[in-house]
Assembly symmetry: D2
Homo-oligomer: 347 residues x 4
């Protein structure tokens, strides 16, 4: 069995669990008033080249939904890609935490928002209109939910548009590290410098274990969010064990190392299957995911071979590369795809 189902089926990076063990000595004040959490603020502020506030939270869904609730009133409209995780996979957590806020899908290729499409929607909003809700925020998934990556210019274009219309910008960075590794950009360039107000930092899918984080660039959001997180059940009393994970995650560039590994695995597979008959990439492979349009027969064959992956439809299969995927595992997938595609063509 070789597992391409998700990056969250993989292990945690050992460094992260080791940090838990190390943090387990002495006493420490609860709910974030400990030394690890203080250090976390400093380290992330350095990392992002500005003073940020980092709130460790349990999951990416919590990070996304609470971020959106912080930048939209309940009557707000949040623009996102139709393919966005917040729209397809989080049981409307954003609507729940956001007191009924509504997600508005925006057209665009490869799971990304097309800035022109967003501009069109915003231009059609009439001032004082009360029947549809009030435009409040934009959500970007970086990397996108189809494995593509917004360029810095893409993000800035959307950020500028948002600012002109008085909207805040949230980045769902479930694969922030993968996108960063792909672009070779700085965390600052891919976030607040491009107009992002609040970020789901996204450790879990990239070798994390039990915590994710919200990174706040807009200081006016922090005081309320701190209380909101408390009552949302997202403030661990033994917070040091969460902060220690996040510190280890970025220590010595671990997070980027892990992201480069999974990106490389995906790229190698993409290269290996280029030009195979009866196979088409549904979106460019720019991070650690591959969306392949292949026949059901090919999918059946792969499953018989012991490959695990998700069928998104009868003709679309998703393969995700974990940081701990081995080169041999990736090559085995290439070989199997080659075999099944060729056989299907012959048939």
């Amino acid at each position: 069995m070789i597992d391409f189902r998700s990056d969250n089926t993989g292990r945690a990076a050992p460094e992260i669990l080791d940090a838990l063990i190390e943090a387990n000595s002495g006493t420490a004040l609860g709910y974030g008033a400990d030394d690890w959490t203080a250090r976390l603020q400093q380290r992330f502020s350095l990392l992002f080249e500005t003073s940020v506030r980092v709130f460790p939270v349990a999951t990416g869904t919590a990070a996304n939904a609470l971020s959106l609730a912080a930048i939209s009133p309940g009557w707000g409209l949040v623009y996102c890609s139709a393919a966005a995780h917040i729209n397809t996979s989080e049981a409307n957590a954003a609507g729940f935490f956001g007191g009924g806020l509504k997600l508005v899908p925006v057209a665009g290729a490869d799971g990304k928002i097309d800035p022109a499409a967003l501009a069109g929607l915003l231009a059609a909003v009439q001032p004082g209109a009360i029947h549809r809700g009030q435009p409040a925020a934009v959500n970007l998934t970086q990397a996108s939910d189809l494995g593509a990556v917004y360029s810095l210019d893409d993000i800035s274009a959307i950020g500028d548009l948002a600012k002109r219309h008085g909207l805040k910008v949230h980045m769902d960075g479930a694969r922030f590290a993968n996108a960063l590794a792909r672009l070779g950009a700085s965390p600052a360039a891919m976030s607040w410098r491009a107009g992002v107000d609040i970020l789901s930092f996204g450790a879990t899918k990239n070798g994390g274990a039990l915590c994710d984080a919200i990174v706040v660039f807009a200081p006016e959001l922090t005081e309320g969010l701190a209380v909101q997180l408390r009552r949302a059940g997202q403030v661990w009393s033994k917070m040091r064990f969460a902060s220690a994970q996040l510190l280890a995650y970025i220590e010595d560039g671990l997070w980027l190392r892990l992201a480069r590994q999974s990106n490389a695995a995906a790229a190698r597979i993409a290269a290996g299957i280029a030009g195979l008959p009866g196979l088409r990439l549904a979106a460019p492979v720019e991070a650690n995911e591959l969306f392949l349009e292949v026949s059901s027969a090919v999918m059946d064959g792969l499953e018989r071979d012991g490959f695990q992956f998700y069928r998104r439809s009868a003709s679309l299969a998703r393969f995700v590369c974990r940081f701990d995927l081995t080169e041999a595992e990736g090559d085995a997938l290439v070989a199997a795809l080659r075999r099944h595609c060729t056989a299907a063509q012959a048939a």
Copy 2:
């Protein structure tokens, strides 16, 4: 510095962190569809002598608020002690997750609900009344927020009363193990057999690290709660690391061992300070907490000595014994209290 501020300032039991390391091999399906989480259901069902559903969650606040939201509509009234954690310390998480449900304080000694007081409130409710909300549930904190423990008869009395009025019963078991150790009862006897429908299991304060759990005894609640937890950001994608903690927590009676340690520390201190002048216990010491009525001068003296604890008022101090509190640390507190109380009397 000797830390009596809270049981959540203490370490995690090493066995629990070790379990994380052990769980870190191979791949595992996300969001609870893994082997550890399956095993968790079986082990807890054995432990509770009935088929239960266990949902690991990040914090006790999440466990409490989502449990209450599962057993009360938004227009519901939830009866609890005025001293209950849900009423004093969780930023109204219950009201938030519960869509505006309202907590109704019930009188009683030692942080416990008095069944007669509850019966009086319920008797005064008029059928069809719409102005105050609809009685929906009762919350018990076991051990109580003043360190006392409900007897099995207490719980059954409240459980029976609740059932007669069509109310569900939630137990906030933040110190469930401490109460269990005190009573020498079985988990079943102290929960569903006494009328509890849903339980916050409460590992964190007793040597846990990053997870708590909801234990559901009323099967009709599980399907909806599973989705609600997902959108509440409380379903880890790498759930194995949460379930592994909970498995280790109860393995070989670890949880009861830890609870006995902190209970014993509190009892030893209580015995040591009995009869000191100018000192009174605000509530019986039945778990791992001591609430002492002493003068500000005594508290000042303790702080100068390096003891850390919470001042609940000018004349009330709380001391909590961690599982990892040493006997010497407890004895030092006794000695210091003796010294300061005697000095104060002399003055």
Copy 3:
């Protein structure tokens, strides 16, 4: 100026305001415990040929959103037409009152849900799935938001499908009377006998003034809804003035008389413009609305002539017939359309 903007720009039926004056004598207990509201329950139960509970509410949006909140948990999915009023025009009131419930658009012609499309969506739902929310309810707008009417068979087909999947059915009857008049059906046949559990009764657009109503067919919903309405600010203390309106509305068939008038006006216009060049009906005219595909130039011409209507897009105009629209006003529109369409063709 001749006003085709909406049926809510029209007057109230004088009979309804007269009923207010009549109700203004003596004292009456508040919050619905008065004689008018008791009589309302009886009259509507006769009208619907079953025991119903009627809750007067201020607006159709309140009726819709609170009905949906009564039949869906916060994590529920509510299936509706993409064109449904609840989806396009109520600022996500359903998501707000429903604690974050999510609307799922279902394909279909003329603003109606296609039963086959709904069946397809429901068949694709996997048991136990937690990532998208839980199917909970179906919403039908009768007449549809494009002026078409579901047949009794249409409703039953959707009702049966809903029941098979454990979903409740809400009918948004903003134009219930218009649909009833069109079908010549009984209120029972067009509602609970076809599987409707809860109905927004919809008086405002059809000669009502300041109140609408929720009609509940599923008795298990009433007790909670009564309290929910209270805290939703929808229970008037001087309820007699609301109930009196609703009694007058159905007295001697007033509501159907009014609906027939506006339906007839729309039908007469539709007949008058049949076959005009450069004009196409976007949906069949089965109630009191006409959606016309015409050029901007034609719309400009109508506006210059003093006709008021809504431009839904550059090529789609909506005309709504009020109950108090005169035949001459309708004929004037026909004449103007004829003139402008003919001129446009000649140009």
Copy 4:
């Protein structure tokens, strides 16, 4: 039967219903875009001597809850009297619309907040504390729920305190006119000049019929509130009929005339029963309500005589004077109380 149960059991002032009839001609754009609603803004701005925004709503509960939701985040604490209507009688509407905001009772006599008690609570709040929620707003009921009236100095004292702590002030003016008539103050003096940010205007209890209003003094609140009201189902499409009521209510001082009538009735009764044996006023009679401490036997006697009123406890009875209470009805109550109290004394 003479009805002292509530001021909402009374009739509507005929002038208000007449205004509905008058408004029933021609067509008018929906959802508040009509001439009556425009005029309402002007008339109320004159009345309050500043530019205000008036939102007609269906009920006082809607006015209160939506006002509080506009000035408190979901994690906010709203300080109010324990006797406040929002705390005792609105099924926690404030918690519902306010996304879980929590009401915090403040001590004080006669149903009023004691400024010193409020100051004490606010002084005890620690900056950055996340466990209890964040102080957000103060609610005053004017006249109070025990029939007393805040002086202008009282209100200013609380308003100043609130401003110093960054809190907004909401006045529940269910009996605003009664308090105004009592104080002989201007609407401006009793509201924004004393620090009130948002007001429930309160027509229903004082001769209104089916609408109340929110008056907003803090302009930054209006844009969001307009959308929030829409999705709260509180924006009538035929808004002219609501605005016409409110215009008639203040026309030629009608509202103050009505309030003076009910105030005078209460004062006359209070004077008539002064010094009766076995009878005590629970609070000063400063508006149109009397809270009498009398024996059950006296209450039984009154009920046998045909008087209708509420028993708040075994020894507390509430009598409310409607604007349309006749002098003879009031005198009959005085005579009956005299009779029963004297008889009880003799017994």
